[in-house]
Amino acid sequence: MNVLVILVPAALSLGLLGLMAFLWSVKSGQYEDLDGAAYRVLRDDDLQAADCQNPDKYSK
């Protein structure tokens, strides 16, 4: 049962990590535009011009 002394804190700290990530995402406004975010991901404007000329880069 001594293994619990390691496993339980490990599980808790992982959970805390998740909580921190969520709190950060709330603070940085990730939930303010749920409708728009769904479409933003489809945009290509973050590709460099060179990437567009060399589409193979993403297919490999």
Partner: protein, 740 residues
């Protein structure tokens, strides 16, 4: 309403408040989809001075980080105008506190969710260990760990309830948060005691789960309010911020707030009217979509009153200001919606009622349990443990979710159907209605006049008349030009003021105007409410009757309501001729004309004595007393002064359908609410006896509480799907009905 307008010609430069490198927010009209977001953001990306621009598709707002020297509002506005949108600088961030509160709730929700998950993990181990081989040391270890997680989590996430409960107690009231807080605190206290004395059962999981579900309900409520308020602020930004006051011979730009009744202001094409007032000089068309939902221009001239926030499309007007800017139409609209949002929502009323009877009942039950076990000879320890278990299990988890989840769905749906809820218990009262009384003028009929006998005229002639009518700003002529929406005016139209318009086409003279102008005898109009205008093409002469027209879907809506078993009735102040005509067309046999306001109240009183529950649908202004006398009331928002609106709900636009939609939504919402309350009661009926007889272990409490909460939430989500479905079918039916 905000979605419908695109490609408008103008923008009002707001006053520049922001210094350098600041953030400014705009409400943007015309955003309909993701493509608009991209167009705006990319369009603004190249503008010098703009560091970053981001559009929020959910709220139709644009946030710009500004680094330039010029007026950000002007630059952004100009650019957006070119792109085909209208930007309105948001005056204030009044909803900032609201947003902070919602974020706080969300953080509390996250913390309690995290704690609940981890504690459940430990608890399940203890439960399964209890029936097999767990050692008491391991159990204690797990209990202490749970305490370590739960204590800080509750201290943080429980604040919304603790603060509210303390506030209520300080004011010597009892609200729902008092038994909630008491239950949580006692559960933790008992668990700590049990843990310290190496007990088998600890209720940490129940306490934190309780908090998690309750926070879910509260957060749902908060975001609904915020959404409605956002919409309200977008509307309120449609105001002018600066006005041009005429002072003797020169013009001076002034802040809208400084305008006084009696001031004379100049409104140029593309500007919004800064305050409610009367046109003293000028002629042209204005866009009243903010008030009526009607986006086509409306011809106006001297003597016509105009509302703040409506826009001059092509005319220059001198306007005599009638009321202070803060009493104007837009301001009142905002205030009204704000009131609706801030009004305690129906379930809150219910929650207060519930809390009043609930807290004593629960506390009595716990005390009786304690006394009962003591009398039965149990020890103090087990009697107290059982009594606290009763308090925990009766904590209103499911009850707290039962009504709010449904209300959130219903209010959102009503708002989407363009119904503004003005009275907190609109849905509850609407669901009781069995009789619907309509006013005629402005309610069954449209506020603007239109041609009534278009069908009697050949389509070819109708088109010609429309093209000729489009050349004049006279209200009768604009009713004619509305016959053909795409009508392009003839190139050379001569207007003879006060008589009519004429032109020549292929050698044939076309005339539109008074009977004398067209060289014919005046034809008798069917009734006094109708004006006649004659159209002459060569030797063909037709007479158009322009008057009040029924709302396009009035017949369909009244028919649907009758089929649903509602008694329909018309009470109108109008003469019997037009009322009878309208009643005949709609198939309403029970109509009364020439009703004075007192007569309407008497009629409503009679209906009430017969035990009927009456929904009065009437114009907010002249029907105000009757609206107040009815069981529940709904008004169309026309140009009527909103300060005098007495109605419980209001709807926007040309259609009558929102009335039927509101009833439908209310009925369904009430049905689902009842189901949910039923579920919550069933839960208590099963759980309380278990608790009283001492069978509630932490396992039973966890299963019962989460089970009932999840069931209730799922039922509300089903309602959301259900309402959506109904709304979609309705919208399609309307489109089909209008198309045929």
């Amino acid at each position: 309403m905000l979605r419908s307008v695109t490609h408008e010609p103008a923008l009002l430069p707001g006053p520049e408040i922001a210094p350098q490198s600041s953030e400014r927010n705009f409400a943007v009209e015309g955003i309909t989809c993701a493509a608009c977001v991209q167009a705006i953001e990319e369009g603004l990306a190249g503008v010098p001075g703009i560091v970053n621009a981001r559009v929020n598709l959910s709220t139709h707002r644009l946030s710009v980080r500004w680094d330039g020297r010029d007026n950000a509002a002007t630059v952004v506005g100009e650019k957006l105008k070119k792109l085909g949108y209208r930007a309105h600088p948001l005056r204030k961030v009044a909803d900032h506190d609201d947003q902070q509160y919602a974020q706080w709730l969300l953080r509390c929700l996250a913390v309690s969710g995290f704690a609940a998950m981890n504690v459940m993990l430990l608890s399940v181990s203890v439960w399964s260990g209890n029936v097999s081989d767990i050692t008491s040391e391991t159990r204690d270890f797990f209990h202490w760990l749970s305490a370590l997680i739960v204590l800080p989590a509750v201290a943080y996430a429980g604040q919304p309830f603790f603060r509210s409960a303390l506030g209520a107690l300080a004011a010597k009231r009892v609200n729902m948060d008092v038994p909630i807080s008491l239950g949580i605190v006692l559960a933790i206290g008992l668990s700590l005691y049990e843990t310290a004395t190496h007990g088998i059962h600890a209720y940490f999981d129940s306490a934190i789960m309780l908090l998690f579900f309750l926070l879910t309900g509260r957060y749902l409520e908060q975001i609904t309010r915020q959404r409605m308020r956002n919409a309200a602020h977008n509307i309120s930004s449609l105001r002018a911020t600066m006005a041009t006051r005429i002072e003797g011979k020169h013009l001076s730009p002034v802040e809208v707030e400084t305008l006084r009744p009696g001031d004379l202001v100049l409104v140029r094409p593309g500007e919004r009217f800064p305050a409610d007032g009367v046109i003293v000089e000028g002629e042209g068309s204005i866009d009243e979509s903010i008030a009526t939902g009607e986006t086509a221009g409306i011809a106006v001239r001297e003597g016509r009153s105009v509302l703040a926030g409506t826009m001059s499309l092509d005319g220059s007007f001198r306007v005599r200001v009638r009321s202070l800017a803060r009493n104007s139409f837009v301001e009142n609209l905002e205030r009204l919606i704000d009131t609706a949002v801030n009004a305690r929502l129906p379930y809150m009323q219910l929650a207060i009622r519930a809390a009043r009877s609930y807290a004593p009942v629960v506390h009595t039950a716990a005390l009786l349990t304690l006394a009962g076990w003591l009398l039965a000879g149990a020890g103090w320890h087990s009697a107290i443990v059982t009594a606290i278990a009763v308090l925990i299990i009766t904590c209103p988890c499911a009850l707290a979710l039962a009504v709010p989840t449904v209300q959130v769905v219903a209010m959102g749906e009503m708002f989407r159907q363009k119904i503004i809820v003005n009275s907190a218990d609109l849905a509850e009262r609407l669901a009781d209605v069995d009789t619907i009384v309509f006013d005629k003028t402005g309610t069954l009929t449209l506020p603007q006049s239109a041609v009534c006998n278009a069908d009697e005229v050949a389509p070819g002639l109708r088109k010609l008349a429309a093209r000729l009518g489009a050349g004049s700003r006279h209200p009768l002529a604009s009713a004619i030009s509305a016959l053909d929406s795409g009508a392009e005016p003839f190139p050379k139209i001569v207007e003879e003021p006060g008589r009519g318009v004429r032109t020549t086409r292929n050698g044939v003279e076309l005339r539109l105007g008074s009977a004398a102008f067209c060289g014919t005898d005046a034809e008798q109009a069917p009734n006094e409410n109708v004006s006649s205008i004659v159209f002459r093409a060569g030797d063909q002469i037709v007479t158009f009757h322009v008057g009040q027209r029924l709302r396009p879907d009035a017949k369909r809506v009244t028919e649907a309501l009758r089929n649903r078993g509602y008694n329909l009735m018309i009470l109108s102040g109008d003469r019997s001729g037009p009322v009878e005509a309208a009643a005949d067309e709609l198939g309403i046999s029970d109509w009364h004309a020439q009703c004075e306001p007192a007569g309407k109240i008497a009629a409503l009183e009679r209906l009430r004595k017969q035990g009927r529950r009456v929904l009065m649908v009437g114009d907010g202004l002249n029907d105000a007393p009757a609206l107040a006398a009815a069981h529940v009331s709904i008004s169309p928002i026309g140009a009527a002064d909103l300060t005098q609106a007495q109605a419980d709900g209001m709807f926007l636009g040309e259609q009558l359908a929102p009335v039927a939609d509101a009833i439908e939504i209310a009925l369904q919402a009430k049905a689902v609410m009842r189901q949910n309350l039923g579920l919550a009661i069933i839960y208590n009926v099963i759980a309380i006896p278990l608790a009283v007889f001492g069978h509630v272990t932490p396992l039973v409490a966890a299963a019962a509480m989460s089970g009932s909460s999840i069931l209730v939430s799922l039922n509300a989500l089903r309602a959301k799907w259900w309402l959506h479905e109904t709304a979609a079918t309705k919208a399609n039916a309307t489109k089909e009905a209008l198309a045929t």
